[in-house]
Amino acid sequence: MLYVTLRLLFHCNEARPTMSGNPISLVRFWGNAVLVVVVVVAIAGMMLSPAYWTGWPWVIGAVAMGYAALSLAVHLRFPDKAGAAWDEQNLAAHRASLAFGYWATLAAFLLLLGAVWADLIDPGAAFFWLSPVLGIAPAVHYLASVLRNRAE
């Protein structure tokens, strides 16, 4: 479904987002997209049946490490493409995504702190739930930048 949505978005007119031909940008986009999907599925799975399976952190970690390894590999394989993939607009989008991640995590921390004080959640569980926000907030922001044509 995500693939179909993205295809529809990418193959429209010039004002719509277009898929980059740069392999580093492609890996960055799809790496972020897969990471976001896996974390969302993990959150949904843990919320629906917390006791059913506890291996989600390992899956998220494996996906993140796989993305990092793949990103390193394409940077080493296509060093001449790195400059365009990390040009000033993409760097600006990257910095904005990190700033968004900081504020999202701070907001989630305050929300969870309130929930802990109100005895709605265990402190250990609150700390656990903070990590998905920290992990995917920058990726979500970067994907939004790409879909808004502000990065690739």
């Binding site: 010039e14 277009t18 980059s20 740069n22 940008s25 400059g83 365009a84 993939a85 040009d87 000033e88 607009q89 993409n90 600006a92 044509n149 502000r150 990065a151 690739e152």
Partner: protein, 69 residues
């Protein structure tokens, strides 16, 4: 053109017979960056503006100007 900057990059690029992708390749940025500069979405750094002007054989003022100047 944005409210704060008039951009004439597209005119000069087309006069030079370059596509967005070709110009992007020559100045070392992504095609999308050239596209967003032309649309007034992204304002380039001084260094990139100078590189674009040098490649298109014009001055930075030919490519970018403040409104009402």
């Amino acid at each position: 053109m944005t409210g704060r900057l008039v951009v004439r990059l597209k005119d000069h690029r087309e006069r030079a017979g370059l596509t967005q992708a070709a110009l992007a390749e020559e100045v070392g940025v992504s095609r999308k960056t050239i596209n967003t500069i032309e649309n007034g979405v992204f304002v380039p750094s001084t260094v990139l503006a100078l590189r674009l002007a040098a490649r298109l054989d014009c001055s930075v003022q030919d490519l970018f100007a403040l409104p009402n100047t």
